[in-house]
Each structure stands twice: as structure tokens, then as C-alpha cells.
Amino acid sequence: MEHAGFRPVLLGLIVLLPLAGFVINGAVALLAPARKRIVTWAGPGVLALAFALALVNFFGMLGVELEQAIVRDYWSWMPVGNLEVAAALQLDQLSMLMTLIVTGVSFVIHVYSVGYMGDDPGYARYFAYLNLFVFFMLVLVLGANFPVMFVGWEGVGLCSYLLIGFWFRDREKADAGKKAFIVNRIGDLGFMVAMLLLFTNLGSLDFEEVFRAAPATLAYGGALVTTITLFLFLGATGKSAQIPLYIWLPDAMAGPTPVSALIHAATMVTAGVYMVARTGVLFALAPVSMIVVAGIGALTALFAATIGLAQYDIKKVLAYSTVSQLGYMFLAVGVGAFGTGMFHLMTHAFFKALLFRGSGAVIHAVHGAFHHTHKEWDPQDMRNMGGLRHYLPLTWIVMWIGTLAISGVWPFAGFFSKDEIIWQAAARAVGPFAPWFTAFWAMAIAAAVLTAFYMTRLMIMTFHGEIRCGAAECTHLHEVPAVMSLPLVVLAGLSTVGGWVNMPHAIAELPVLGWLPSAEWIHAWLEPAVRPAEAILGPRLGALNEAAPLGGGEAFWAAVAFALAVVVIGVGSSVVLRWKYRPALESLEPVGLKKVLYRKWYVDEAYETLIVRPVVATSRALWRLVDEALIDNVLVNGAGYTSRAFGWAGSRLQTGQLNTYAFAVVLGALILLGFMLL
């Protein structure tokens, strides 16, 4: 369907380029791992092309008012009876935005990885996996029906499994990879069951047909649409690490830092948010699911923020921060503000990738230093750092930009997107579920405060205070090479500028904060894609209330949040500066509430004892008892033994004694006689 002159340019190529990159790098990895030059050009090069193509399409699409998504059918994948699934890609505003983010951030991270993984023997294999990941992510984002999206969905899970367990030599890293894959698989089960439900009730799995048929066939708020959406949300929680299935993300930090930056911060984890946004129509039809999504989002935001407070591993803090920010996005999407959710997704991709790469640079430097002096300290533990601002000035500045952005300080991206989510949560608290939404609104604000605090704690422990990594090592601390620091600067710029793209009107009027032009561009851009869902939600919700529960309009609350963030950062930094930290090996175990938080509320241990251990135990029992003992020995061999037993009993009769035979003869005769008589 060509619309108003816009024709997607080589849509298939955008997806195929990373696949080609994977094939090339894979071949190099298997055949000639030493040939790093090919990989250096093939890996990032492929991504550059893909990003360029995405940009071409983006600009082509910019001017055009596209009502319907453009679908390209490549070949008929599963033609069975009345099921018609084609391998088809689809391009509309939503997937265009996501493609831009995915290809853009991946390209920058590929460049960064060239430096980070430069001296790793598995260089080619790393880039092969990274390219494969981008391919699957694009398939997920551009998929035109649920099964194709599912291919990307599980493919991405596979790549995260391969990349987390990249240094598979180390058992604990391989375990983290396995955990990620299995937890994702639980989520994927939800997605698959949702697909089964959809096909059985709507007769098709293509987005277009499903979203056109849904409002008609599925009753609003009915049990069916709620179960479908809840199963879809189960899939989303698996992929985007929300409350029940978030446990794999912190362990996923075992992978190389660029992987954490790309997959576990910017792209893969946002797949869940994208999926909920994509199936907005279904969620709009099921208010109960909306509540569940928003609720879990807010709860995760708060819960993960609390854990982030007490972690010492720099990447673990950022991991929990990601889980928390994803909670925000689900809150936004759950509330029905799909545009805001996607906006926060974009800004989060920028500043979280920045923070991860910044921490990657720090780890890289500290690891190099410890390596020189053969000191067996953990390069990721903040207690072994401190006062690094003198040695890594560029990283220090860049990290501060990221922290300010995530805390929601005014000019930076986080301020606009996070506060808009908080405002939407308040604004949309109308109708029967109003009290719920106000609760989520409050939790969101609390989480924002905690976010500001743990980010400040991270910055202070790493860059300020006295140097804890030993005098000798400090001489070896030096900034990261250009190929790594350039992307940092680029991302810092994006984190600053990113927010202005979607400046809400209310904030534009504010005196001191409003000097920037108000754009609301993201909302305008996503409006056509989100229109069907809005069409259902609009009339249901009626007028959004103007004031937040405690009074005051959007601008007022934006200013309050900004002030709150500044205060928390100021007070926080002075408080943390006074806390004395000793290097990791000598420091004593955290105690009391800190211990509970450090131990991640013992959730992992709970899952282990409640789910993993019983399953393994029953498996073993099933094998030993049922399979071997019951069926094998009792029934199968049992039959054998019983026949042998009869044989044995028969043999006992043959005693070999003549008398017994005589006796038998007489007995026989007697019986015969007996019969004759009677």
C-alpha cells in the first residue's frame, strides 16, 4: 500500500545487512579468528549502512502523513489450512522510531566495542553475535505479524544468552547466560499462548487484521481480551525484566560491558515496551490489564530503585537502575500514554547507554591498572575506586551528564521524559481505577527520588572522596582511547539534546525553564501509529483531569520534580562524601536493612528454593522412582521376573526323588477314582 508518495527504501536490506555482518564475522571467527581487520570493518560498517538506510527512510517518512503501516510480504512462511503467516516486514512511525534507535545506538556501541574488545581473542565471534543480535532486534521491531515478531523475540533472547555467556570459560558467566535464556523462555511461553488465543479467536495473526478485528470481536474489558493481554504482558515482563521475571538482568552484567550497554540497557529490554505499544489496541480494550501493567511498572520502578541503593558493583547499580527505568516505561504505557512511554524509551536508551559505557571506561581503566600491578581486586567494585576524577576527567564529566539526565535535572533528557510519565500517571487517573493510578503516581515520585540518590552515591563513590585503589595503581590510570571516548561524547550530547525533541507545552511557558522552543514532536510523530488505541481509550477515559491529586498543573509538578532532584543530588553528595568506605576485601558485610537490600530482598534465593530446587528434585524423583523403579522394574522387568518365578515353582516339583513321583502317580490315580465315584 503506497501512501502519499512514501515508499520504504530497501526495507528488507536494513534487516539483511546485520545478518550479512553475522555471516561474515561468523566465518572469520570459525576459519581465521586472527583476521581482526575484516571484523573491524565488517561489524560496525554493516551497522553504519543500516543506520544510513534507516535515516533515508526516516527523512522520506518525515513529511508524509502515513495512516496505515506499509507491509512488505517476502515469502509465505506458514500456509496451513486457514492459517496464513507470511514472512513480512512492516514500517510505520512506531517501528521507524525503534529502528532508528536500534541501528543508531548499536552503531555507536559497535564503534565503542572495537576499542573495548580490541585485545579479546573471541573478537570475531563477539561481533558475529552482536550483528546477529541487531538482526533479530530489527526482525522483532519490523515484524508485520506476531510469529515474525516472535522469531525476533526469541532470537534476541538467544543472542543475549550467547553474549552474556560470551566468556563461557567462566562457569558463573555461563550460568548467568543460561538463567537469562530460561527466564526469557518463560516469558516467551506467555507470548506464544497469547498467539494461540489470538489465532483461535480472531482467525489471523497479522497485526493489521488483528487490530482491525479486535475492537469488533473482543468485548471491551472481557475475560478473553484480558487473558490475551495478560499473557502478552507475561512475555513483556520476561523480556523487559519486570517484577516476576527481572532476576536475569542483574546477572546479565556478567557479559562484556558494551553488551550490557546495548542489549541490557538500550534495545532488547525495551522490546517489551515496544510490544505493549504495538498491541496498544488490545491493551486499550482491557482496562484490567492496563492496571496490571501500570501497577507492575510502578512497583518494579520502586522495588529496583531500593535494591540499587545498596549495591557495590557499579554495573549492578546500573542494571537495577535499568529495571527501575523500564518500570517507568511500563507505567507510562500501562496508563495509556504510549507516546510518552516511547519518548522515555528513547531518552533512556541514550543516557543509560552513556552511563554503561562510562562505567565500562572506568572498569577498563581500573582493570588495566590492577592488571599492571597484578592486584587481585574486582575492577567493578566501587569500594576499590574513589577519587578517579583527577585521572579520568572526560569520563567524569560525561558520567555526571548521564547522572543529571537520569535524575531528571532540567536541561537534560531525563527531566522531560520522566516527569511527563509522572504527569501522565496523575492526569489519566480518572474513572473507576483513579485511586490505583494516584498510588502509582506516588510510587513513581518516590522512585524518582531514590534514582537521584543512588546515582549520586555511584558518582561520589567512584569519582570523589579519597582514592582507595592504592597509590601504585593510580599512575597507570589513564583515559580510554579515542575510539571509545568519541562515542561517549556523542551519547553525552544526545542525552542533553534528546529531551528537547519532545518539550511539553506546559513546560515551555515556565519562566526560567521555558526558553527552548516547544516541540512535542514525538507525540506528533507517533500519533498516527497510536491513533487506534487512543480511539478506544479516549471515550472511555473522558476528560483527563487537569490537576495532579495534590493540586497543581503539569508545569508546577515539573518544577517541583526538578527542585527535588537538585536537592537530593546536593544533599546526597555531601552525605555520601562523609561515608568512609574501605576497599572491598577488607570492608565488613553490610548489616540490617542494608544487608537485605544488598541481598536483593533475597528474591534470588526465594526463587531458587521455591522453584528451581523443587523442580530438580521432582525431576530426579520422576527419573529414579517412576521411570526406573515403577515402569521399568515393576512392570517391564516385573513381567520377566513373574514368569521366572513360575518357572522356579515348577522346578521345585521335580525333586528327583522316586518317592515323590510315585506319590504323584498314586495321587493322580486317586483323583481319577474319586471322579469315577462321584
Binding site: 522346578s651 525333586t655 526323588q657 522316586l658 518317592n659 513321583y661 510315585a662 506319590f663 498314586v666
Partner: protein
């Protein structure tokens, strides 16, 4: 006279059976068999008084069989004795599988 003799032969036959089952000495076993055969002969003779001379003729045949059986049996016992130094039937369990 007739019925009483038949009862007597039944009793003697029973005695023979008891001997065969109870005793373990091979020779005694043979004697009991001889006794059983004689019980049969008595029955034959008793019945010949009612059913004619054939009864007595059969006695002849029974006797020849008894003689043959005794001869062969004792020969077996001798050969077993030469081999196993005993006539106690407990040790002859070659039949056992």
C-alpha cells in the same frame, strides 16, 4: 466270600502304596510293589469265581510281569549300588534338572 476278598485286596494294595511312598530303601520299595501286585492277583482270583476262568489266566500274566519287573529292578539297584554305594533313594536325584 467274594466281597470280603476284594476288600482284603484293597487293604493290601493300600499297604503297598504306603510302603512305596514312605520307605526310602529301594529293596523295600520293590517288595511293596510286589505286595501291590499280589493284591491285584487276589482281586483277579476272587473275581474269577464270578466272571469265569479268565481271571486266573490274567494272574499268570501279572506274575510274569512281576517277575520281569523284579529282575530288571534289582539289576538297576545293583548297578546303582556299585556306583553310589547306597540304596537309599535320597541320593538318587539324577532326574532333578
Amino acid at each position: 466270600m467274594l466281597t470280603r476278598s476284594l476288600v482284603l485286596s484293597a487293604i493290601l494294595f493300600g499297604l503297598g502304596v504306603a510302603g512305596v511312598v514312605v520307605r526310602r530303601n529301594a529293596i523295600i520299595l520293590f517288595m511293596c510293589i510286589e505286595l501291590m501286585l499280589n493284591a491285584v492277583n487276589l482281586a483277579f482270583v476272587a473275581l474269577s469265581r464270578a466272571a469265569g476262568i479268565e481271571g486266573q489266566i490274567f494272574v499268570f500274566f501279572v506274575m510274569t510281569v512281576a517277575a520281569a519287573e523284579a529282575a530288571v529292578g534289582l539289576a538297576i539297584i545293583i548297578s546303582i549300588f556299585r556306583h553310589a554305594e547306597t540304596v537309599d533313594m535320597k541320593n538318587f536325584n539324577l532326574l532333578r534338572w
